[in-house]
Symmetry: C2
């Protein structure tokens, strides 16, 4: 396949937060495994879009035409401006909207707070045949939850285990879980926030609270490191994607999705009716 | 705007099912108001995609940055193969997925049947700032419901009024309701079903029940006519779109959406914070 030629080595391996992974060692400006510049990256993204769209249709078809329970869940986490929205728009936007289940998790409502932190998450788990995308997720409860001490230390500790149990349930039910942290530098974030303040058509994307969060950047990096240490499992691994270059982070996420789908060896489901008989019925109708 | 040059007259007017509208008079192969061929239509669709995407972002921004309650609901109804899925993929697919709320209504579950027919529909009404799309809808309950006598005649009668009340609630809450029937001919449907039976990659899209429904085509046309007569209101009009030519039906739906959004005169919301003050805070961070 054309897209393979750009990758010097498999990004899924390079980007996985495995044993001994250290966030501080990742350069947000790098583009691991990809031998090419921005123009090459955009070309590869366009080529990948067609592949991803076909794989998604196969996944969807098998849940409908067959009884395939498989599905994908892409979890997106990042500091503000790192490009979660761009992934949804430019990677998922190339896929038939009928096959995508998108859930954006904002500050919890009073009703949500009255339940366990996984209550609102479970309701949005993707159905068979779908690609679910979480724009923020249950990880907020061990990220902002930890940094801003929104729960007791004991409760935060409990959550790592609860998350692993929950994700094990998902994978057992046929979900391929792909957890992505988009990693930008403090400087890059400053530039991107400045752009939102410069351009009147971007003002709505800025919130003064974004700067409050920015001031806690090092504490968030620590909280991410703990999350990787505790929840990057074989079944539901974390991938840390350098995101200072948007073209790279989009391409890398697209690649993770394509890899996950291709690993399913999907084929068009066989008809569960007699094709010739139906042709005859149709001809007579 | 470039796209206007193709339209000899406003399709929103031409396609509306107003007083005295008769479905039987609409030629499914026609392309009302559009002076051009397939290539022109595809070019116009690509141009419209950028306009629709910007209008959608404005709508979304105003619900977030401002407190604008406005939203859009596109209701899609049609006989099998008429192209609902293609509208979702090719018209809505050009829009940021974060701004689209898609709901596909299948055969009701037992739980849904235990409630009023509008119960499951209300839960999927779009939130402020969103474009909601119903792939099938509450109209199934007066279409298949009527044709296959799934409810008593009295209950079917009651539903037209209940639908008008419900849609009046939606519009009062800031929803622009656009109801679209994609109109194909019996012959065109035969060809499209035949293609699904010919191609193994399309077998999953075919269901023997599609032919059972096809045999009731005239009864469905009658049921649609009654629905138009009873529920095409000033606030929530029906549009009947000739759909034998896919390029035309997609373009026409896109046009209806753009028209509805442009009529809102959306502008980028003003910042609700002091921009200069935030620039200074950011610089110091």
């Amino acid at each position: 396949m054309g897209r393979e030629s750009y990758w010097a080595s498999d990004p899924s391996e390079l980007l996985r937060a495995g044993e001994g992974f250290t966030l501080a060692d990742v350069d947000p400006h790098s583009h691991p495994g990809f031998d090419g510049d921005k123009a090459d990256g955009e070309k590869a993204l366009a080529e990948g879009a067609a592949i991803l769209a076909e794989q998604q249709e196969l996944l969807f078809a098998n849940s409908r035409g067959g009884d395939d329970e498989r599905r994908v869940l892409l979890v997106l986490q990042a500091m503000d401006t790192a490009g979660k929205g761009g992934i949804v728009k430019h990677v998922m936007g190339a896929v038939d909207p009928q096959g995508v289940q998108l859930a954006a998790f904002k500050k919890p409502t009073d009703e949500e707070l009255a339940h366990d932190f996984l209550w609102r998450i479970r309701k949005q788990a993707p159905s068979a045949g779908m690609i679910g995308v979480f724009d923020r997720s249950h990880y907020e409860d061990v990220l902002i939850g930890r940094v801003r001490e929104l729960a007791s230390p004991e409760e935060i500790e409990r959550r790592y285990g609860a998350i692993n149990d929950f994700e094990r349930e998902l994978t057992a039910a046929g979900t391929t879980v792909i957890k992505v942290m988009l990693h930008i530098s403090l400087d890059e974030q400053k530039q991107r926030l400045a752009e939102r303040l410069e351009r009147p058509d971007k003002h709505w994307k800025f919130n003064p609270g974004d700067i409050d969060e920015r001031l806690l950047f090092p504490k968030y990096q620590e909280a991410y490191q703990v999350a990787f240490d505790r929840t990057s499992t074989t079944d539901a691994p974390w991938y840390v994607i350098p995101a200072n270059r948007k073209w790279y982070s989009r391409l890398a996420v697209q690649h993770l999705l394509i890899d996950a789908l291709e690993a399913m060896n999907l084929e068009w489901p066989k008809a569960d009716y007699d094709v010739e008989e139906q042709k005859a019925r149709l001809a007579a109708s």
